[in-house]
């Protein structure tokens, strides 16, 4: 039986209040969370600010990026564009698609308190998986989590089921042992490449089900 893996979500929001809320929503949905306050910090964490790294700087693979749209400095849209076009300059200053280019395949979801249709369209066109209206609800997060789990490969149906079962057990019984038994095997680049041969663009965009209109 496969060990259940926790998804690791990078949450980006300049609002301290919203970071706290989204962190709680994600933890209740049995996700690991790294919450940062800006696009710049998010890029640093992802190793896209010049350092070469295909993992978060703490070595944990990121499965989903959840970012606010309106942020000072770099908007969520600008962050989305940088992630979706991420390449790395190697020592010889030749642009290559190295391991870290798999970062561009990490699903990015945009959150905003404003339902501005051209904004939503722009984000989806740039490759965002979905656009969530704030305040984000627990049902939104659970739906996202399930979507990401399905997208991580066909052979992970067992994993998806495990996570859901363990997650609901955790909430009911607050069993600390369940948490420990769920310590994730870090999903490596190879796992992603082997289990999902199609590119993320060919997946049915979740946007079709999103709260638009």
């Amino acid at each position: 039986m496969e060990m259940a893996q926790e998804l690791h979500v990078l949450a980006v929001d300049d609002s301290h209040v919203d970071r706290k809320v989204i962190e709680r929503l994600l933890k209740i949905s049995c996700c690991k969370v790294t919450a940062v306050e800006s696009g710049t910090r998010a890029l640093q964490y992802l190793g896209l600010d010049g350092e070469k790294s295909s993992m978060g700087i703490d070595g944990l693979k990121v499965n989903l990026i959840l970012t606010d749209y309106s942020m000072p400095g770099m908007t969520g849209y600008e962050l989305l564009k940088k992630i979706k076009s991420s390449l790395t300059v190697n020592d010889a200053f030749i642009l290559v698609e190295q391991e870290s280019s798999v970062l561009s395949k990490i699903p990015v979801v945009i959150m905003s308190s404003e339902k501005i249709l051209p904004r939503i369209d722009r984000c989806l066109e740039e490759g965002a998986e979905e656009f969530l209206l704030k305040p984000v609800k627990l049902s939104d997060v659970k739906r996202l989590r399930d979507f990401i789990l399905r997208g991580e490969g066909d052979d992970n149906k067992e994993t998806e089921k495990n996570i859901k079962q363990v997650c609901s057990r955790k909430r009911k019984f607050q069993d600390d042992l369940a948490t420990q038994s769920m310590l994730s095997a870090v999903v490596t680049v190879h796992d992603i490449e082997l289990s999902s041969p199609e590119s993320s663009e060919s997946q049915q965009p979740l946007s079709k089900q999103s709260k638009i209109g």
Binding site: H16, D18, V21, S70, P135
Partner: protein, 136 residues
Amino acid sequence: MQRQSASMKRNLFHQDYLDEQFNELEELQDDDNPNFVEEVVNLFFTDSVRLIRNVDLALANEPCDFGRLDDLMHQVKGSSSSIGAKRVKRECSKFQEYCNERNIDGCKRAFQGVKQEYATLKTKLDAYFQVAREAS
């Protein structure tokens, strides 16, 4: 005590001080995180002090930077929405409308409204959390 806190909450909803988002937040509480809502609300009030001070300063500037005012109020509105602070959010929207019209007097009036609702909500939620804590 539990009945008192429930009735206090009902009143807060009935009078539009709070909306459904507050309930959503209470759903996120459990035995391991029993004071989550109070923590988020406290964070809102602490954070907003800085924003409100900046709006005060920006309103005193001549000429008025309506873009900046709108930005600041957008932040207050966003976090008030996140905790379900319905009346505060409403006053923020009024302020933003005046900003769009570049109506400085309207902005100043609306800002008084924001500060008033903010203060009233703080008093009421302080009382609510005190009772809710005693009830548990």
